[in-house]
Symmetry: C2
């Protein structure tokens, strides 16, 4: 199973690395990190670099395409014809085309979500409509061969779903146990739908 993960400057590291770390446990996967050029990109506010071993021009097929979201530079990147053309070309070859967080906007800008149900980070939800997609406030949304995940950490749940779809539940459960994914945050999670306006406002003041 050949998996291509698109990375770019400003990417949210966990969007890419959550799914990578789980999918990478499945025997027989070949995961390639792909950027505009073959070099490292900087994540978030720049504290970590991820290495792209492949340039866009090096990869022309994939069984699974995964497009992570990002913050800085995202609005510009999603309208870059180089990304749009590559995403469209790879999508023609995939069995699954997927995104995490605001990565859904890349798929939308490439014209792939027209008429589809999809999800994204709650703060990017308004952005899907302009690409003809209907935002669904679920953890991940499966429509045809497209699976889009909500914000950041939702990519982990989506990756398990993908492994289940591709390899069956038993392998997916083994991956889950291998990554010891038995979430126990120190306080109960609050969904965007249930969050107070005050808490949402605090999110806008965080560093990334």
């Amino acid at each position: 199973m050949k998996i291509a993960i698109l990375i770019y400057d400003g990417i949210t590291a966990l969007d890419a690395v959550g799914p990578y770390d789980l999918l990478n446990r499945v025997p027989g996967t070949d995961i390639r990190f792909v950027a505009k050029e073959k070099r490292s990109v900087r994540t978030g506010n720049g504290a970590l670099g991820l290495v792209a071993d492949y340039a866009l021009s090096d990869v022309d097929t994939a069984d699974v395409l995964l497009v992570p979201g990002g913050s800085k530079g995202l609005a510009e990147a999603i309208h870059d014809p180089a990304y749009q053309d590559w995403i469209r070309d790879i999508d023609k070859t995939t069995q699954w085309t997927t995104s995490v967080c605001s990565g859904a906007l890349f798929l939308g800008a490439a014209g792939l979500l027209e008429g589809r149900r999809a999800t994204t980070h709650w703060r990017a939800a308004h952005g899907l409509a302009k690409y003809g997609a209907t935002y669904v406030g679920e953890r991940y949304v499966h429509d045809g061969k497209f699976v889009t995940a909500a914000g950041v950490s939702a990519g982990i749940d989506m990756a398990l779903y993908l492994v289940e779809q591709i390899e069956g539940r038993e392998i997916a459960q083994a991956v889950q146990l291998s990554a010891e994914y038995v979430p126990q945050p120190p306080f109960p999670p609050v969904s965007a739908a249930a969050a107070s306006g005050h808490l949402k406002e605090m999110v806008t003041k965080l560093a990334v």
Copy 2:
């Protein structure tokens, strides 16, 4: 808040990047990825490189030290005096010394867990006793200034706990909402304690 994250070849990417991505959202954090030399290291089975902007010799203090776990090469690395000396030296300067997954074995080998309660990946649990630590099968374990997390994904929960300890619950909740950490795996999680022997055996056959 100065945070040093140790990385090395064979590291489990999510062990480092889960906590990084959350801690990085806290205003005023300065996160430094540190490796033996200032270069990129390869994660897991090698499909992804993480860039270390700092060599061990570049960093001599930190408020928070985080040591992620790994697979290949771990047994050798934890006994490398270069890592042991650096970990001991940095620990003398920290407010918090933390690990994720088999990263606890680094802390143990450096002599820091003697007489302490700690946790690690369930598959590495037997390794703690030789360093005088008592394994506790919890999501994360706080003993003194040491916080150790269970396997891989547990670093995310531990990071939220750390943010709560350092910045208070409200900031931690904003970080959680920012990363949309409302876990919903497609099937119920199974803890190592509850997993069947068959499922545990399957984990040993995964690719990483």
